[in-house]
Symmetry: C2
Subunit: 68 residues, 2 copies
DNA sequence: TCAAAATGGAAAGTACGCTTGACATTGCTT
DNA sequence: AAGCAATGTCAAGCGTACTTTCCATTTTGA
């Protein structure tokens, strides 16, 4: 799973810390997602999508043979 | 998180077991999702959506104040 | 240039998604 | 009514999402 989090966050001119606060998660969680250390839960993915006014699919990129 | 899994699966006339096999998860996982015992990982949500040719948002319903 | 702000990332702990295995219940079909 | 198919559900175990704490590195701005 790739994602466009860092790109979208920077477009909006907000800091990791600000995004984290808005989403009610830790700053490290945002950093970990941006750097691909792990994938978000589906709840967090929904919160992120809703925060940016986008769909989950526009932000998180699922590659067909992700884990086969 | 509510979801329309059971409804959509039955529309297509397929069994839990068949869906499980197609998605490469256990039958119990499908049952647990349909009965709301837990939410899917985002990877499984993507696989489900892709299998049904729908978006994640069309299948999984996120309620605003899900976890305060 | 130098300090503060922003980000990167490790470690240890908790919660949950998912597995296998087993058994109970419900729903056909005859 | 009986028997099999489909579904419900529990328990134990494993991996990972997320937390807090802490420290290192990079970026920014006066």
């Amino acid at each position: 799973m790739n994602n466009r989090l860092e790109e979208i966050r920077k477009q909006r001119g907000i800091k990791q810390e600000e995004l984290a606060t808005a989403l009610e998660v830790s700053r490290q969680t945002i950093g970990s997602l941006e750097n691909g250390r792990y994938n978000p839960s589906i709840l967090l993915a929904f919160k992120i999508a809703r925060f940016f006014g986008m769909s989950i699919e526009e932000i998180f990129i699922y590659e067909e043979d992700e884990n086969a």
